[in-house]
Point group: C2
Chain length 209, copies 2
Amino acid sequence: MPDVRHFDPDVAVAQVVPLLWRRGWSHTGMQDIVSATGLSRSSLYATFGSKSALCLNALRRYLADHADPAFRELETDGRGLPAIAAFFDQLITARCSGPHARWGCLATNLQIAAEGADPDVRTVLDEHHQHLVAALATALRAAEQAGQLHEDVVIGASAEHLALLAQGVNLRSRAGAEPSSLRWAVEAALGALRRPGSHATPGPEMSPG
Amino acid sequence: MPDVRHFDPDVAVAQVVPLLWRRGWSHTGMQDIVSATGLSRSSLYATFGSKSALCLNALRRYLADHADPAFRELETDGRGLPAIAAFFDQLITARCSGPHARWGCLATNLQIAAEGADPDVRTVLDEHHQHLVAALATALRAAEQAGQLHEDVVIGASAEHLALLAQGVNLRSRAGAEPSSLRWAVEAALGALRRPGSHATPGPEMSPG
DNA sequence: CCTAACTTGGAATGGTCGTTCCAAGTTGGA
DNA sequence: TCCAACTTGGAACGACCATTCCAAGTTAGG
């Protein structure tokens, strides 16, 4: 009977995530993956099939670990605008400081780096974007019911708007934008949705960078 | 006395722009540049020095040809919000249709593709972003003086906000987003700035994609 | 212990990358 | 015409790319 695999594929995928995230698709070679995982090319190809398949797994793993929890929190937190503000606040914090500072968002990065390579990657990225829009729409509906929005805010359109804003934050944070500048921009976007009577979100200080 | 150059460097740079724009930095090889320009490697290296130097020239050329005119129009058009709406409208049109449809913005693309490669590229991209923010701020000041904005709009913060939105449009348009969806998002962003009494911008129809 | 079935390390494959090099060609003054 | 100065085409370079291949190792039923 056959020999069994000497390693855990999930661990290997997890080790590939930061590689792909930080250095990008084209700057990550199989040699880097071999070095990072400590596995041999044979094992990697026998298990995953190709570099793109392995990286697709890494993308899914990234989304499950880093994006989905934040999205779920945004969806379930019923506070409305404060929930959205908190979402952006933790987004900016994660993008500009900590172990992944200036790495951007793997999904955003791949959107440009993966030149329509795998249609699978494209599909995953599209679903991810729709997921973000949906989560923002849910939070906006909560804000609407709490009377935090002025009347002519269209939920769907504003959700798309804020999703594009998040993409912009991801992009600019990787390019080195100051967190204060990003927070200032986000506060402007959310402040414009707020109903005149509604009190401002208590949160981190917002000032130009 | 020496032989003189047999070609016009500006023409060569112009021929490189669409290559870099459409296919990206890593997917554009010197062979592609040789083929596109019809020049030999020797001539290219003697004139530009390296692939990155040549591509830096191409980036500057792109900004001068495609970004600066639109920015100037945004700055000089005194109408306020309608000028900003027109800017985004022509941005989305250019990104989703015509000869450069789905190519995104070269500056946005390079922001991720050029992994901090040349610091020169990084500098040019940063200046470009500041240029966009400044142009938006100018247009917002015009809007403010025309009484189009509600009182608690902060010009600088909103300019940063709209610049991030433009980056998001560039990114998502390359990923295949529907123009109607992008227009919808932009209309939400601008609508939230508008003073209740001020009449809506007459413009292209905005509906969800 | 034997062997079929499978994994593993590491060499090897063919290709492409940016860059360099050189012989041949071109230019305009002496 | 001769030559120094420069450009040009195209071959060549070493490094890296994703992928394949194979001999050696490992496993468990017979």
